[in-house]
């Protein structure tokens, strides 16, 4: 991994900003899709694709690559955008999101784009598959790591906890779960719909190591991943606190943006705001 110099950090922040702009443009083009969670995970997906992962965008099926799974498939616009800016495919292809014949399906499908690692959308299934990948690495003495991004609300799914239990049993310290803790789901606040707290205690009780960080702070997230990678003998979860809709002020903190896209005027406003922010980021450099 490269060292996180101030210049590198500025570059990553600019890339996260561009990732958000890609999300807005693709959602506008699609006319449907999930805005809030996609935007709030732009920093984390940019960190993964441009800093953390051991991968090769030109050779997505390289057997030694780190695996990154997106369990909550509905925020796939952020993954597509981060992948495009990392060089997996042309940025213009983002405008084909959810269109007939596109590789960019409404929910991600591995068979259309192998770099997605798996097919997701039905919630609560990513960590279970990641557990299998991490266990396979242990069985075969492979060095690759498996990272699984999950939403907070999918902790309401039983299968997710079957995976938490199993990863604890096998002491999978090559497995890391990153929770997008934005406290929202379709019908409202997670703590109103089905409370998840105390979430960290639940993981500790299942023999996991728990870290918490600001998921919208690039440096803090990367430093937390570094610390988490040093843990031996147990799987690690990072509870990344995020602001739904992050970067677009009229969406921030509003759960009603969970499952809808911006219209043309809203997208223009969002892109103006993001571009102004990008200029501030690069002016600091």
């Amino acid at each position: 991994m490269q060292s996180l110099t101030p210049q590198r950090l500025t570059q990553l922040k600019e890339q996260a900003n561009l990732c958000r702009q890609g999300i807005i443009r693709s959602l506008l083009s699609a006319g449907s899709g999930h805005s809030a969670g996609s935007l709030d995970m732009a920093d984390i997906f940019t960190a993964f694709y441009q800093y953390i992962l051991r991968h090769d965008p030109k050779n997505p099926e390289w057997p030694e690559r780190d695996r990154l799974l997106l369990s909550c498939g509905h925020i796939t616009p952020v993954r597509y955008s981060a992948m495009a800016y990392a060089g997996y495919f042309p940025v213009e292809e983002l405008l084909t999101l959810r269109k007939f014949g596109s590789r960019l399906q409404g929910h991600p499908e591995r068979t259309r784009m192998p770099a997605l690692e798996t097919t997701s959308g039905p919630l609560g299934e990513g960590l279970a598959q990641g557990t299998g990948m991490a266990l396979a690495a242990k069985m075969d003495g492979k060095e690759f790591r498996t990272y699984v991004v999950t939403s907070d609300a999918e902790h309401q799914c039983g299968l997710h906890w079957e995976a938490v239990l199993t990863a604890g049993k096998f002491k999978l310290d090559n497995l890391m779960c990153v929770i997008d803790r934005n406290f929202i789901q379709i019908d409202g606040s997670t703590e109103d719909i089905m409370p998840l707290e105390p979430l960290a205690d639940k993981y500790r009780a299942f023999n996991w190591e728990v870290f918490q960080c600001n998921g919208n702070d690039m440096a803090e997230f990367i430093q937390t991943v570094e610390k988490a990678k040093a843990v031996k003998g147990k799987p690690v979860v990072i509870i990344a606190i995020t602001v739904p809709g992050k970067g677009v002020s009229y969406m921030e903190g509003d759960y009603t943006w969970h499952g809808k896209p911006p219209n043309k005027d809203q997208a223009d406003e969002a892109l103006r705001e993001l571009e102004a922010e990008r200029e501030r980021i690069t002016a600091h450099a």
């Binding site: 057997p63 499908e109 591995r110 068979t111 690692e117 798996t118 097919t119 997701s120 959308g121 039905p122 299934e125 279970a128 598959q129 990641g130 557990t131 299998g132 990948m133 991490a134 266990l135 396979a136 690495a137 069985m139 075969d140 492979k142 039983g158 299968l159 079957e162 995976a163 239990l165 199993t166 049993k169």
Partner: protein
């Protein structure tokens, strides 16, 4: 001496059915355990993942002989499928086994998304299928599993007729790349094939030639079909018997050829008559060669506790029920 019967150019070695006392009885699940162990010895990527049923699903042989290729995850059937998907993505060939009622019964959505849509090389062994599970009762008697698996794109569905064929099917399905459902039963059942009987995925087998009615069966009821055909011969009714072990992709040509030859079909399966093997036969014939059909199977009911043989009789899948179906279809035969 095994009797040899030549059909479609293939020599079918069958056990001598004219002497029922000589027929050995072994559970089909034994064949799975033997096949899995043989496949795992030949290829270290073949692994077994068990959801707390190692003895009854016949995982014990693998567990004891090759513990590094055996994973125990407890009572979590959705996890069984999802975790196997992850392992398969790295090149492993996971066989996952539970009772059919729980896997794929409980795990259907994971099977559809992670195994089929995602095209992973995961193999499901569905044990304890059918009412012949016996005393455990309806909760444990899967009679809907063929339906929910055959409807999934990319899925291969195989229901072997005895323990020897189950072993051959396990080995063949391990070699095949892609998602698979292998269904077998709990109780001892007659071994109707021999070591020499061929097995090929997707290729139905004519176990008895005949010109009046074609009995198309799968699973352990194949024996009842053969006995029914033998007894009907004494009444002058000449039945063909087809072992239709691959429900998906079904051997449409063999089904159409049988319909053309006999003009009357009886399907036999230990499953709901709705949406099972017989329904697929009907779909093929409705489109390619409309033919009267009688369906022997569970008639839109749940099972209950009892002895396997009395349950098979009660739910209309015994030899006499098959003979009745043959007599009924003869009256509806169009030529």
């Amino acid at each position: 001496m095994p009797s040899a019967n030549v059909a479609n150019g293939v020599s079918m070695h069958l056990a001598p059915l004219d002497d029922p006392k000589s027929i050995k009885q072994v559970p089909t699940r034994n064949g799975f355990g033997e096949g899995l162990l043989e496949a795992a010895k030949a290829n270290e990527n073949v692994i077994g993942i068990c959801a707390d049923l190692s003895e009854s699903t016949r995982f014990l042989g693998l567990k004891e002989a090759l513990p590094d290729q055996y994973i125990e995850i407890g009572v979590s059937e959705q996890m069984l499928v999802a975790m196997a998907g992850g392992l398969a993505s790295t090149g492993k060939i996971p066989w996952i086994a539970s009772y059919a009622m729980f896997n794929p019964g409980r795990s259907w959505e994971q099977v559809r998304t992670i195994m089929a849509l995602n095209e992973t090389n995961v193999k499901i062994a569905g044990a304890h299928a059918g009412v012949s599970v016996g005393p455990d009762g309806a909760t444990h008697q899967a009679v809907e599993d063929i339906a929910i698996m055959r409807v999934i794109p990319h899925m291969t569905v195989v229901v072997p007729c005895d323990t020897l064929q189950t072993k051959k099917a396990t080995l063949a399905l391990t070699q095949m790349h892609g998602p698979v459902y292998l269904r077998f039963a709990r109780e001892k059942s007659p071994i109707v094939t021999t070591e020499q009987t061929p097995f090929e995925i997707g290729k139905a087998q004519t176990f008895r030639e005949g010109k009046d009615v074609a009995i198309v069966a799968c699973g352990i009821l194949l024996y009842n079909a053969l006995i029914a055909a033998q007894e009907l011969a004494a009444e002058g009714i000449d039945c063909m018997v087809i072992n239709n072990h691959t429900v998906k992709p079904m051997d449409a040509r063999a089904i159409v050829d049988a319909a053309k030859r006999t003009g009357a079909i009886v399907t036999v399966e230990e499953h709901q008559v709705h949406a099972g093997m017989g329904s697929r036969v009907a779909e093929i014939l409705a489109q390619q060669h409309p033919t009267p059909i009688e369906f022997v199977g569970v008639q839109d009911q749940f099972g209950q506790s009892g002895d396997p043989s009395e349950l098979i009789e009660h739910y209309g899948m015994g030899t006499s029920a098959i003979k009745d179906a043959v007599r009924r279809i003869l009256k509806r035969r169009t030529r």
